[in-house]
């Protein structure tokens, strides 16, 4: 998509930005988060105002329903202007070539009449151009055969005769009210001789207005069709917008629904055909997101296009522009995330036991249920402290944090020397899967953490001088933990496919730092509150939240930059690299 015409797209986008009440914070979720943090927490969180896009963010715009309509109309105007045709014709041409202006222009310049025929605008012409533009069409007899036979076509400017864009008076050419008295025309579909209003497209296949109405309404409502062909057998002409809306459908006062559905179907086709546009997938949301940077398959190997629509919703409508896997799977790119999920699905049987919510204490074997986000477990019975992820004693984590996040392949292979290779590869997978699933589960459990936190916040207000606003640091901390667990989750999918080497080690260093910071904060949030030490707790939580946020930033920034630099090497072929 790089043509001389492309600039107009951008131009319209910016225009819409100005006109369509898109306030600045609609641009992206990250910016509004930061604003919130500034407002709510005052000096606790010193987040510098955002100046420019971060490397893990992607430029995108949120468009209202009307803004998309304008984009579509702009394309139509653009083509109408270049080709010197009316808007109806331009729209049919664009529809035919799936709104690919560049290809349309190329094909139209090459052979305008062939494109017009293929687009259902005009019949293949055999006769020489006719100069007599009779205002009233020839009326066929009422026999079955005549209706099905094509009239000799005349040379015509596409669609122009039957459908001038903005002059209702010339509509007389299509409508033939109170037919010439000498010949009585009967509609070949309904044979209702009381019908007096007849319509045809430029093919002159006449049918009564009531049949057209029933046909067009059925196509739109029953079949969800918006490119509606002429009713005559084998006739390939497509009814242009004006014909549908002004001539075939009843007045807006009688049937508003069908008109709206028709417009909606056209808009959907436009959005579906335009690679840089996507509907917001949240139920009944009417926004569309424009993200030209992520409109090609090859762009998805160097970025994760996480976008947010302009709906004023809590939480914001965040989704991935490149896939439907998960709303935000940063830092890992779409094709690798997809590969990972597929693998998890294929191996789910083997991995099932890990997902289970319960484990046995490694010391006394009593069953322990995980009911919070923290990985620091304490057995109720024997007070043994251990790590939920690796089951190792917690003491080793607390002091030295031995590399729980890293599957040291060499050491592993050495240790499992006796075991088969397939067993080793399964264990390698389980190592990553285990951590991936654990973060997912912990993030889910954050609902519980939320209500616990809320209780604590209430407690704090009662036992200290802190106001409601001032205890919000707990909520902010919980939010941050959840967000970072999602990052961590996907880092394990990424690490599984990263090729061995320095780059992967640096990646895993960042991962380990983030994980440690998250577990520290998570643990702090679950510890009991000492009313005497609330201000200290507040300071601690606030500091750790800032630190976690910083580690997350570093993780995302570095991974995204690595994609841009092509620094990450995969141990399997990844879709899009070819």
């Amino acid at each position: 998509m790089s043509s001389d015409y492309e600039y107009s797209d951008d131009e319209y986008l910016y225009d819409d930005d100005d006109e369509d009440m898109l306030s600045p914070q609609d641009g992206s979720a990250a910016s509004s988060d930061d604003d919130m943090a500034m407002d709510t927490f005052g000096d606790d969180f010193k987040v510098p105002p955002r100046e420019k896009r971060k490397s893990y963010e992607v430029d995108h715009d949120s468009l209202s329903h009307d803004a998309v309509k304008k984009l579509m109309a702009a394309d139509v105007d653009h083509i109408a202007g270049i080709f010197g045709v009316d808007a109806n014709t331009a729209e049919l041409l664009l529809h035919h070539l799936a709104w690919n202006k560049e290809r349309l222009i190329e094909k139209y310049m090459d052979n305008a009449s062939a494109v017009s025929v293929a687009a259902g605008i005009s019949l293949p012409s055999r006769a020489s151009p006719s100069s007599s533009a009779a205002p009233i069409r020839y009326q066929g007899s009422s026999t079955r055969s005549s209706a099905a036979t094509r009239r000799p076509a005349r040379q015509q400017t596409p669609g122009a005769r039957s459908l001038p864009p903005s002059s209702p008076s010339s509509n007389d050419a299509v409508l033939t009210p109170a037919l010439a008295k000498q010949e009585r025309f009967v509609c070949p579909i309904c044979f209702d001789d009381s019908q007096t209003r007849f319509l045809s497209l430029s093919c002159e296949h006449q049918f009564c207005a009531e049949c057209w109405n029933a046909y067009v309404t059925g196509k739109i409502r029953e079949e969800g069709e918006h490119a509606i062909r002429c009713m005559a057998e084998g006739c390939a002409l497509v009814a242009p917008r004006t014909f549908v809306l002004r001539d075939a459908l009843p007045a807006p006062s009688e049937d508003k629904g069908t008109r709206e559905r028709y417009e909606e179907l056209q808009l959907r086709h436009f959005v579906a055909s335009t690679a840089s546009l996507k509907y917001c997938p949240y139920p009944s949301c009417t926004y569309t997101v424009s993200c030209p940077a992520a409109s090609t398959k090859s762009s998805l190997i160097s970025m994760v296009p996480t976008v947010t629509c302009g709906a004023n919703a809590t939480p914001a409508h965040k989704f991935c522009f490149g896939c439907a896997i998960e709303s935000d799977h940063r830092p890992v790119i779409c094709p690798v995330a997809r590969m990972w999920l597929q693998k998890c699905e294929d191996d789910s049987e083997t991995a099932n036991w890990i997902k289970s919510n319960t484990k046995e204490c490694s010391k006394c074997q009593s069953t322990i249920e995980k009911n919070g986000g923290c990985n620091h477990m304490t057995c109720k019975k024997c007070k043994h402290e251990f790590c939920w992820v690796c089951m190792g004693p917690w003491s080793e984590h607390g002091s030295a944090w031995y590399s729980c996040n890293r599957y040291d392949e060499k050491a592993g292979v050495d240790a499992r020397d006796a075991q088969s290779k397939s067993r080793a590869s399964l264990e390698r997978y389980l190592h990553y899967y285990n951590r991936w699933a654990n973060h997912e589960q912990s993030a889910k459990l954050s609902v519980e953490l939320y209500s616990k936190t809320e209780k604590k916040m209430e407690e704090m207000q009662l036992t200290s001088e802190l106001t409601w606003i001032e205890v919000q640091f707990m909520r902010k901390a919980v939010d941050e933990v959840e967000k970072c667990r999602m990052t961590l989750k996907w880092t394990y999918a990424m690490a599984y496919y990263l090729d061995k080497g320095n780059e992967k080690e640096l990646f895993e260093d960042n991962q380990r730092d983030l994980e440690r910071a998250v577990e520290d904060l998570s643990e702090l949030l679950e510890s009991p509150i000492d009313p005497e030490a609330i201000s200290m707790l507040r300071q601690k939580v606030t500091d750790r939240t800032v630190y976690v946020s910083k580690r997350n930033e570093i993780m995302l920034e570095d991974t995204a930059t690595g994609f841009q630099e092509g620094r990450w090497k995969w141990n399997v072929p990844v879709e899009g690299f070819d």
């Binding site: 579909i189 029933a214 059925g218 009713m231 084998g234």
Partner: protein
């Protein structure tokens, strides 16, 4: 809508009664404007010489704006013709009964099209997906979204 459908079918019935049906096609019954039956055979030197089939037309209130449901009858005395576009339950994969239906087509023109579909058949075979389709087919063939072959009929 029901009135369009009734008027149109009345008109078609009158025409059939006056002008007769095309050769090889006979009206068996048309007791109402919902279900009609025809017998159909392919004359001349074809693979279906001597075979007589029974066709059922079902009309809803939207006929002829929407197509009739047409299928071969399969019962004790009738079989569906063995043809690459005809399933053993009598359902027919023909584009004029779906995508390419035009409201100007009629019961008679559908009969003629099906007759010539049989006449041009070169080898008596069921559709390759016959068993799979028949096992899950809806009662009304209009509910099936057929994938039409390149050689449209």
């Amino acid at each position: 809508m029901a009135s369009i459908s009734a008027r149109r079918l009345k008109k078609e019935l009158t025409e059939i009664n006056h002008e007769g049906t095309p050769t090889g096609i006979k009206l068996l019954s048309a007791d109402d404007f919902e279900t009609w039956f025809f017998s159909i055979e392919v004359l001349g030197n074809t693979l279906y010489q001597g075979e007589v089939f029974k066709l059922m037309f079902r009309f809803d209130g939207h006929y002829p704006i929407s197509s009739p449901a047409v299928q071969f009858v399969v019962d004790q005395t009738h079989q569906a013709p063995i043809h690459p576009h005809v399933y053993s339950n009598g359902h027919i994969c023909a584009s004029i009964l779906g995508n390419d239906w035009s409201p100007v087509l009629s019961v008679a023109s559908v009969c003629i099209t099906l007759q010539s579909m049989l006449a041009s058949c070169k080898s008596k075979e069921r559709p390759p997906d016959n068993d799979r389709y028949v096992a899950h087919a809806p009662d009304n063939p209009k509910k099936t979204r057929f994938h039409y072959d390149v050689d449209r009929v």
